[in-house]
């Protein structure tokens, strides 16, 4: 992504399915109102679990236009991906049937794939764990689609008529950013002209809740679900699981301009680095995330002070928010103290692989509307988190360039830089 005069990539369509309301409009209204969508888990009985809160999507696939066949063969996350892709395609105004299908591709990020479907199906074929030799005669015919989550990309490719490079990107909690980064690289290098790129996860299942319970990564604040997700707050004690999807139509900039497309933002920089430290632990100095940020800014040809808003990973775990704050100081210098930084996970929870894409949507909309979404529930200062996290209330703010970052299990650290199109064209 370093060719200065080469092909440039812009966002021309956005689809979002997030907790608090399906569709981009509902999502943006939730964020700018500073409302939270976290609640006691309703998808199953959470009482045996340590953490019983989540941010769930109220979602009826039938009403939203999936056929009973499609609903049966798709995991909930795949349903999110397909419906959200349809919204993005409609929003773009791009006539997909007129495109060269081999130059139209799909990347869908997902951290845990069809974990909900797998959890349910395992329970059936094992008779609730009684059988070691699980019984294939009870398996659903589409179980392979749950086994291998590339089925998500396949479903989206079918839905939009793409026949170009298609894949699922699965780098844990940075999957959403990396999916968009991957798609951007395909357009820049000339492999594709249009990419339907985003991410989807639906991880609110007993096995996922249990595995985060086991390492106390999720919050036990069960008595106050609406205020349970508390990034950068002094009383934070773990993240709140979420679910959802965001999908974009990405186009090569000149062809998007030529057709008169509405351009939300240009993707001007992307980088991913690994901490090579620990599968779940983070070093407090944030140096590898800082490196990813520096490389992404360098690619964007922007200086730290050009960044008007930082969309943080802000998961609300003790170690993440400290790690990330250090990374911002390390990479942005003094500007880290001046730039608004916020975490929308305070409102929509942490949907693992999907959230990076959902946060890119928030970042693009911040540019579109010149509004920075807040960090909800931030009321108790933490001396280790001493930046401007835009507490509680959204802020009118001229936003021309946004840095969005992610950090995840496996040590992945990713950064994406978006810029207002006229500015980045200058």
């Amino acid at each position: 992504m370093t060719a200065p005069h080469g092909r440039r990539v812009v966002i021309t369509g956005i689809g979002v399915t997030a907790p608090g309301g399906v569709g981009t409009k509902a999502f943006w209204s939730l964020l700018t109102d500073g409302r939270t969508s976290t609640r006691r888990i309703s998808l199953f009985d959470p009482s045996p679990f340590r953490s019983q809160v989540a941010a769930e999507v109220d979602f009826d696939a039938d009403l939203l236009g999936l056929s009973p066949q499609e609903v049966r063969r798709m995991d909930r996350a795949a349903q999110f991906a397909v419906l959200t892709a349809r919204e993005a395609v409609a929003d773009s105004g791009l006539e997909f049937t007129a495109l060269d299908p081999h130059r139209t591709g799909v990347t869908i990020g997902s951290a845990v794939g069809a974990t909900m479907g797998l959890d349910q199906e395992y329970r059936t074929v094992s008779d609730s764990g009684r059988l070691d030799l699980v019984d294939h005669t009870y398996a659903v015919p589409h179980l392979y689609n749950f086994l291998v989550p590339s089925s998500f990309a396949a479903e989206v490719a079918w839905a939009v008529g793409a026949e170009g490079p298609s894949t699922v990107v699965s780098t844990g909690c940075t999957s959403g950013l990396d999916s968009i980064g991957y798609a951007t690289e395909l357009i820049r290098e000339g492999t594709a002209d249009v990419m339907v790129a985003g991410a989807a996860d639906a991880p609110i299942s007993p096995i996922t809740v249990a595995c985060f319970d086991a390492i106390k990564a999720t919050t036990p604040r069960n008595d106050d679900p609406e205020h349970a997700s508390r990034p950068f707050d002094g009383t934070r004690n773990g993240f709140v699981l979420g679910e959802g999807a965001a999908v974009f139509v990405l186009e090569e900039m000149e062809s998007a301009k030529a057709r008169g497309a509405r351009i939300y933002a240009e993707i001007v920089g992307y980088a991913s680095r690994s901490n090579a430290f620990h599968m779940t632990g983070l070093r407090s100095d944030g140096r590898e995330m800082a490196e990813a940020i520096r490389v992404a800014l360098d690619e964007a040809r922007l200086n730290p002070e050009d960044i008007d808003y930082v969309n943080a990973h802000g998961s609300g775990t003790k170690q993440n928010d400290r790690h990330e704050t250090a990374a911002f100081k390390n990479s942005l210098g003094e500007h880290a103290y001046a730039v608004p930084v916020s975490s929308i996970k305070s409102m929509v929870g942490h949907s693992l692989g999907a959230i990076g894409a959902i946060e890119i949507a928030a970042s693009a909309l911040a540019i579109e509307h010149n509004v920075v979404p807040p960090t909800a529930n931030l009321s108790t200062p933490d001396p280790e988190c001493d930046l401007d996290y835009v507490p509680v209330t959204a802020r009118d703010w001229r936003t021309d360039a946004v840095l969005s970052v992610g950090s995840g299990f496996g040590g992945f650290q990713s950064a994406v830089v978006l810029a207002r199109p006229e500015r980045s064209a200058g």
């Binding site: 329970r123 490719a157 299990f409 496996g410 040590g411």
Partner: protein, 409 residues
Amino acid sequence: MTAGTARAVVTGLGVAAPNGLGVADYWAAARAGRSGIGRVSRFDPSGYPARLAGEITGFDAKDHLPGKLLPQTDRMTQIALVSTDWAFADAGVDPAALPEYDMGVITASTSGGFEFGQRELKALWSQGSRYVSAYQSFAWFYAVNSGQISIRNGMRGPSGVVVSDQAGGLDAIAHARRQIRKGTGLMVSGAVDASICPWGWVAQLAAQRLSTSDDPERAYLPFDPAARGHVPGEGGALLVLEDLDRARDRGARQIYGEIAGYGSTFDPKPGSGRPPGLRKAIELALADAGMEPEQVDVVFADAAAIPELDRIEAEAITAVFGPRGVPVTAPKTMTGRLYSGAAPLDLATAFLTLRDGVIPPSIRVSPSEDYDIDLVTDRPRTAPVRSALVLARGYGGFNSAVVVRAVEQ
């Protein structure tokens, strides 16, 4: 080095296959046509419609890895970590001596640490959530191998994980090449999969592509009139990719060849009436390599052993190369299909073919007369080989093709 012009070459191979652990054993077996397919031994398969697999034997993780890693890793991660160690050793590279941000890892996966996942699902549903392992959150997910490989080797550069079923191994290699072109000096890339556990077995059975034969010699016969599905296997390969100039500057002990071209397509939605995308993927890979079909010396086939898929592949090869225009082989007849690990193993095999001028056979296949392809069967074929095309397809319609080429010494 100007970004975009760097040439990505392979300097190290680490392979783990059902018919051989490590390059030397595997290559000796592949040349000799020795199969690693047999009856499933890790659980009792008698109650299932498919009972054969390509299992890796003789691999004991504790011989190779520190004890603290064992309880937190699935078998496929253990095999991937050891294969990476072998690939570094083969390349003559000590990762600890390299700049941390100048090396990265990109792997493919299909099902993550599925056996680990089965154990923890059992704990959850038979005992309760408090019995779920503290390692479950990362031991099963698709990103685990890239994460663990980066940690073990101190690799902090560009990282990634792709899932495109059995085509993903080639997509990972192409993405690693992209990072070399953008300026990273060294990438580890490839894939290992292993889900030979009852839960993985049942999930694989659902696709209705597994051979139900009990005869290891007749179970997996791609392009044969008797083709009735495939035998699944475990294993794969990790490759060390480097920028060509840098490999030469450090005096790399060998340069197996270059990742010269890549193409990837997705099949049209069933019922659309449009042609499948494999041929287009081949054409894209050749164009990317700047090569004509007659410059390709051998094709490593995807070899689905499903009659319809065999026909599509044979027709694509014939359309591009002409009737019997190029030798075609499927060494995976000796290993079974290794899911995301299959294509990286085929790439490793292709590089060994380049090195030695020996094309390993597709064992026990009597090709159907309906297919106009020159399938290398029974015995290895000796031929000067300067370049090879590797094909891989994934369930649902993923098609990927990579062209590898010898590098002028």
